[in-house]
């Protein structure tokens, strides 16, 4: 019997437009759409993509619980054997939507679900324990390879053939353990690993420890009235013309811009170059991301000491964590040298 698959995508991959359509509510379309067409070709006669549910990324991320329920209701009405979401690559909002859809389907419909995310997508940390996530490239340039990997895992899930480790089967570890028999006992394996390590040869632990990189909260500001506060943003707000040529996506650097003698960020002098959200509102009034006007008012009233004379800006979309960490370290060095006390960081 042909198995039934429902596919979830965002407005962009449904062919309904980019950021200007990111507010749209869930829609159901019969059959395959966009990347679903290629999935259908990969699944062959074994399974049919009976429907595609799509939703705008902003609508989903800003109304998480109600949208999750609505999308789940739409998916459930097709009685699927498997649900596929994405791939969402390194897209933050889309990755969350795919994660929410897959987790809901897995837990509430008791139907297997999978998505494809770039390993640094924040959705991986949030959902990888609960759902199958196929590691994919950071952008849609990797679509073909992503769909092949997702199609292969889909076929295995539909046939109930998942036997090997997460890595062997092509998904990110869910942190689950399964009992099975090795040819060698634990003592032998441990000694072999120790010898491999000693000789500088590759070895694979059987018990991976989780990596937590949490920074403990810094102590609170004691004296707001005496404090110098700095503004940083990842929403790509730069002086008109983008003098430092900050990239619209996958930023390689950040910019530092003077706020001296400015009371307000005007639409004439500033703009956003961020490629991951609809810039209409911030370009109408850049204070919606870099809240200079309100800070100047509070500064005049003496609510806090003073605003640092520069603000820092970069583009957060698609930017590798490694770059973001470096930006943070370099910004902190400058803030330290200039005697700043605390930071307001705004993100879109």
């Amino acid at each position: 019997m042909t198995k039934r698959v429902v596919h979830y995508v965002n407005q962009f991959f449904a062919g309904q437009g980019g950021e200007e359509s990111a507010h749209l509510e869930p829609v159901t379309v019969e059959g395959a759409l966009g990347p679903g067409l290629q999935l259908q070709a990969l699944l062959g006669d074994e399974a049919q993509v009976v429907a595609t549910v799509w939703c705008g990324d902003n609508h989903f991320a800003e109304n998480l619980e109600s949208t999750r329920r609505e999308v789940l209701r739409r998916i459930a009405s097709f009685e699927p054997d498997l649900v596929i979401a994405g791939p969402a690559f390194n897209a933050g909002r889309y990755g969350m939507a795919c994660g929410e859809v897959c987790r809901s389907v897995t837990e509430e419909l008791n139907v297997p679900a999978l998505t494809g995310l770039y390993p640094e997508n924040p959705g991986v940390e949030i959902y990888s324990r609960d759902i199958y996530i196929v590691p994919v490239a950071d952008s849609a340039r990797g679509m073909k390879v992503a769909l092949q990997a997702m199609g292969a895992l889909a076929a295995k899930l539909l046939n109930g053939e998942l036997q090997g480790t997460a890595e062997e089967e092509g998904y990110l570890s869910r942190g689950r353990r399964k009992n099975f028999f090795f040819a060698e006992n634990g003592a032998v394996r441990a000694v072999e690993m120790a010898l491999a390590k000693f000789h500088g040869q590759p070895f694979r632990t059987e018990f991976e420890m989780p990596v937590f990189d949490r920074v403990p909260p810094a102590p609170a500001l004691k004296d707001l009235k005496g404090a110098t506060i700095a503004l940083v943003n990842s929403g790509g707000v730069v002086p008109m013309g983008n003098p430092d040529r900050i990239e619209v996506s996958s930023a390689s650097h950040f910019g530092r811009y003077s706020l001296e003698s400015l009371e307000d960020l005007t639409a004439q002098a500033f703009e956003s170059v961020h490629g991951g959200y609809d810039r209409t509102y911030v370009n109408d009034d850049p204070d919606r991301v870099v809240p200079l006007d309100a800070l100047r008012a509070l500064e005049k009233e003496g609510v806090f000491g003073r605003l640092y004379e520069y603000y820092f800006s970069t583009v957060g979309t698609g930017t590798p964590v490694k770059n973001c960490s470096r930006f943070g370290t370099e910004i902190a060095e400058q803030l330290k040298a200039d005697g700043v006390d605390a930071v307001i960081l705004t993100s879109t």
Partner: protein, 77 residues
């Protein structure tokens, strides 16, 4: 960025709309924004009310910065 700036010793308040992502990237003091494309504004409001909204979010951010926290904390009111 939030994490590395905080690691250098600065209290940082992250104003962002998708709180789960802010939690994932390790922000310790979080103030939820209004919407993804306009975290500190609302184009549907008259200018004066929008300014008041922005000001109130900054005041909340100040409250976050002056509050000692032991773990990741969302200042949602």
């Amino acid at each position: 960025m939030v994490k590395e700036i905080e690691r250098a010793g600065f209290p940082v308040v992250h104003i962002a709309t998708i709180v789960p992502i802010s939690l994932t990237v390790g922000a310790n003091r979080i103030v939820p924004g209004v919407a993804i494309p306009h975290p500190l504004g609302n184009p549907d409001l008259p200018a004066e009310e929008e300014f008041a909204l922005r000001r109130s979010l900054i005041e909340r951010a100040f409250r976050a910065l002056t509050t000692d926290v032991e773990e990741q904390t969302v200042f949602d009111c």
